[in-house]
Symmetry: C3
Subunit: 410 residues, 3 copies
Amino acid sequence: MDTESTRTGPDGTARTGSVVGPRLLAAAVLLVTLVGVGVLRTVGAPGPAAAAAPAPEPADAGPAIAAADRPDGCVTPDRRIQLYAVELPKDPITKQVRLGYGLTPQTAAYPGPTIEMIEGECLAITLHNQVPAATLEALRTDPNHPVAVSLHTHGVKYTQQSDGTLHSNSYVAPGQSRTYVWFAKPRNPATGSQGTAGYWWYHDHLVGGPHGTKGIASGLFGALIVRRQGDPRPDRTYVTAFGDRQTINLRRSSEADTCDEQNPVPGPTCLVARLGERVEFVAIGLGDDMHTFHLHGHSWADSRTGVVDGTNRALVDSVPVIDNKTLGPGDTFGVTVLAGDSVGPGHWMLHCHMQFHSDLGMSTMFHVLNPDGTMPPHPAAAPTGAKAASTGTGANAAPAPAAGHANHHS
Amino acid sequence: MDTESTRTGPDGTARTGSVVGPRLLAAAVLLVTLVGVGVLRTVGAPGPAAAAAPAPEPADAGPAIAAADRPDGCVTPDRRIQLYAVELPKDPITKQVRLGYGLTPQTAAYPGPTIEMIEGECLAITLHNQVPAATLEALRTDPNHPVAVSLHTHGVKYTQQSDGTLHSNSYVAPGQSRTYVWFAKPRNPATGSQGTAGYWWYHDHLVGGPHGTKGIASGLFGALIVRRQGDPRPDRTYVTAFGDRQTINLRRSSEADTCDEQNPVPGPTCLVARLGERVEFVAIGLGDDMHTFHLHGHSWADSRTGVVDGTNRALVDSVPVIDNKTLGPGDTFGVTVLAGDSVGPGHWMLHCHMQFHSDLGMSTMFHVLNPDGTMPPHPAAAPTGAKAASTGTGANAAPAPAAGHANHHS
Amino acid sequence: MDTESTRTGPDGTARTGSVVGPRLLAAAVLLVTLVGVGVLRTVGAPGPAAAAAPAPEPADAGPAIAAADRPDGCVTPDRRIQLYAVELPKDPITKQVRLGYGLTPQTAAYPGPTIEMIEGECLAITLHNQVPAATLEALRTDPNHPVAVSLHTHGVKYTQQSDGTLHSNSYVAPGQSRTYVWFAKPRNPATGSQGTAGYWWYHDHLVGGPHGTKGIASGLFGALIVRRQGDPRPDRTYVTAFGDRQTINLRRSSEADTCDEQNPVPGPTCLVARLGERVEFVAIGLGDDMHTFHLHGHSWADSRTGVVDGTNRALVDSVPVIDNKTLGPGDTFGVTVLAGDSVGPGHWMLHCHMQFHSDLGMSTMFHVLNPDGTMPPHPAAAPTGAKAASTGTGANAAPAPAAGHANHHS
């Protein structure tokens, strides 16, 4: 169980199992159901081997955390992880500098690893700044600004020492490390303190200026998911960050979908699921612009969990079901759908509905496979306007060479 | 009942009654209350005759729908309608090309007809593309892009064959037809599948490019309302689409209000109701920009239905009551108000609160009449700052020639 | 009690107690708990003396309100207040004209006084236009537009006579006065009429044009809070208006935080609280642009009251907890937090997360003091990447001269 629960999935996602710590053993029964999450279960060829994950570090292995560094309620970290900030190859198209966070330097990427917590957990994250100083210097707009990266997070609790901001001096120079402590505080109805369960993001707050604008634009961000015990669990999770220059996950349409239909490898550029799987998208807004998250064929309840489980009709009716949601910079929300629910398998567009954004490249596909991992061919072209004949399905069939298909990623 | 239930109202709205199909007879009692909806009941002169609606087509009259074209849960369509895409006269001010959907070619307009469904219903819509090929060619930005229109919808369920997208080949060449199948799937608590009740829109996804940007900008869109059985029913429904160039329903202020106070004809450019009527606005965001929907004197619960019926105080308190809501492209929501509730009759501004948008023309009026259909005169001018005297009401009185009144549409 | 309940706090906020009128005596027990609200209870030096507030005007002291001026449900005003529109000194940085509303001419400011009501209350506000005619003329874009100011409000009920708009002639020429009547209508479940409790704003609708764009941009706006009886009460309230040129409360970063750490005076440019206090922020969007409200270290339930009190898990789970929220012009919402909850004292950034907005100055600090009114020093600089040592706290200690601290207001 431990091995499974702490390894990193093929999409770079830190598995939920890794939250298992001394205080959370009671949740073990729940977590057992998560083994295998993230793997397209019966697709023929296996994906690339999961990156070698560091051995789980016992929660008590690190140095003691000073009292001023611990948010109230965190006696000692339940879990410790390492996070590396590294420079990645420049963007192949724009030649822009790319930075990424990773659980290992080798697996750093943009977005960074999705971190999951359960309410009640306290997590210590040691950030290692491996970005060259010259790179950070070149991104500065003010020569007096520190050459550093940081880790700032949304939603969970942390003291000033873990704020990741300039004024709190909670940043990391190149070659150095710093430990940040996050606490997924549970709800306390007695005081009116809300819980921290939700969909959040973490990001740099230092690179380029006091708001980390250059760090975020370069890729130093990732999703943070906090669940309540008993929350519905997804079969897979995808992060979709809507950013400047009309990008999803900092990639424009031509690079935003890299799915090999013969062997789809789930990840930030290959959104794929099998019919009926519960899929969770984390939508993140970043940068300078407004966007909307729109998914074809699917809708979701605009609640914290994406579902409404109550049997109270008034409650159900108070929560809108939507398929398009506005997303400003810093906003995050979760979208939970059943892949292909009622609509079947196929290539379902996921795009910003701001028209010039989608036209300029803010569009990708959510590929829903048959339960056996095959994808039905595209419907035949309908140049005469006749309704396309039902063409059945084929095992991993290549798409029919129909008019328009070549454009489906553009 | 059938005649009533399938006719088109003076505002081009497909009446709810038209959803009556074999599977929905149980709802007949409910629907009886809808007869006469949309008519200003006691206003003197009748509005223009309702467009001659096509005879209701029995749900079983059309060709069989192939299995791959039916979303799961739709065994056979409960209802079939025809939808025509046509070219309309150019915008009188901007000379922009205008396209419209209509239940008949003669009644095509922008926005197109409001389509209503009830959860559980399956609807087959045959789209006839009557737009000249030359018009569509001129709107293309890419010479390899098909010359076609399509029908894409939000919220309800449909297979790839009814997606209305380029990559699924589900579009219609000029002179051709294609049948799209929509299913208003009900909630299934057992699977976590949400219902489809809500406020949605349908639109072209092909004209000009793979996101239908030119089709939408030209007018190929309309509202789709899905209700749960038991949902509160409005006395009248208005669609207000907030679009580029600071328009409401693609019209700027000077054309956005055409109400004849002597004989107001409800429609997309004449938002009018009698005191106490339950009025539903469908707000649609489209184009390239953000907007906000603001209505003077009225507010609504930011819930799915616009009301909160629960007697649970905690639930009531969890739902904000608002009078201004941000609207991104692709967003849709419903606003339900009681006309003039507490505030009385008068000319209530409905505008985008983005200041330069309202200043440039994104503003219209919601005219609330007395219960007898009269409108009180405008309060007298107050150039001296004295509080305007109460001037009483007059039957269909012409507005007092007060300072400022001439501007009330600008 | 009366003296306490009607005085103006040091931040210009009209105290809730001032809502006490003939119809609200039953709420007196509730209001007793509010005495002293808004005062940093044990900070050494007192703040500047509260502006001399006008003696409370008995609710029955003013002239009768004509029937056409009273929203339905308001028989007679429960309370009357005076509001003055005045010209203030030009913005010291931009030299822009500044106007402000005040409960007295001497206390006029931007934002104007926060007005609180309780559902059921009817309030008469007499607006005195003391802005020089020449100033208003210079702000006009159309020479035919009246030279006047007005008072338009969101959320509560008012007739056309109190709409504050051009077409209703409900504005005020220089040197004149006009009485506006607002009714905080309670919920009526029988009719589906929602209550008016919520976070709203009031603003000019006349200066410069028919949407009051110049009046709002100059400072003629303020917050309106309507509570239901039994709503949670804050210990202090701050208004944060997000406006053009990337300002909070029309001030950019360098002027947006004027806190003297030795003697913080709560107000629109000094957001300060003691650990554990319940703090309510009213977020207002205005102008031409979108923004997001983000607060470090704190989150809130996205409900009407900012909290979810229900013991119903499904309800609790349906309300997202967030720390960043999109805000369009005209939008308003409340944010209720417990200062420093779990995260402790410190300087917590409050900024727009649109990156170029925060970089250009749309950022300030929420200063959370220890319960005894002291502020811990900033953590030491961490240039070597070592985790900052816990430095303890000092009574009113000056911040440590750490790197970066000098920037914490920029």
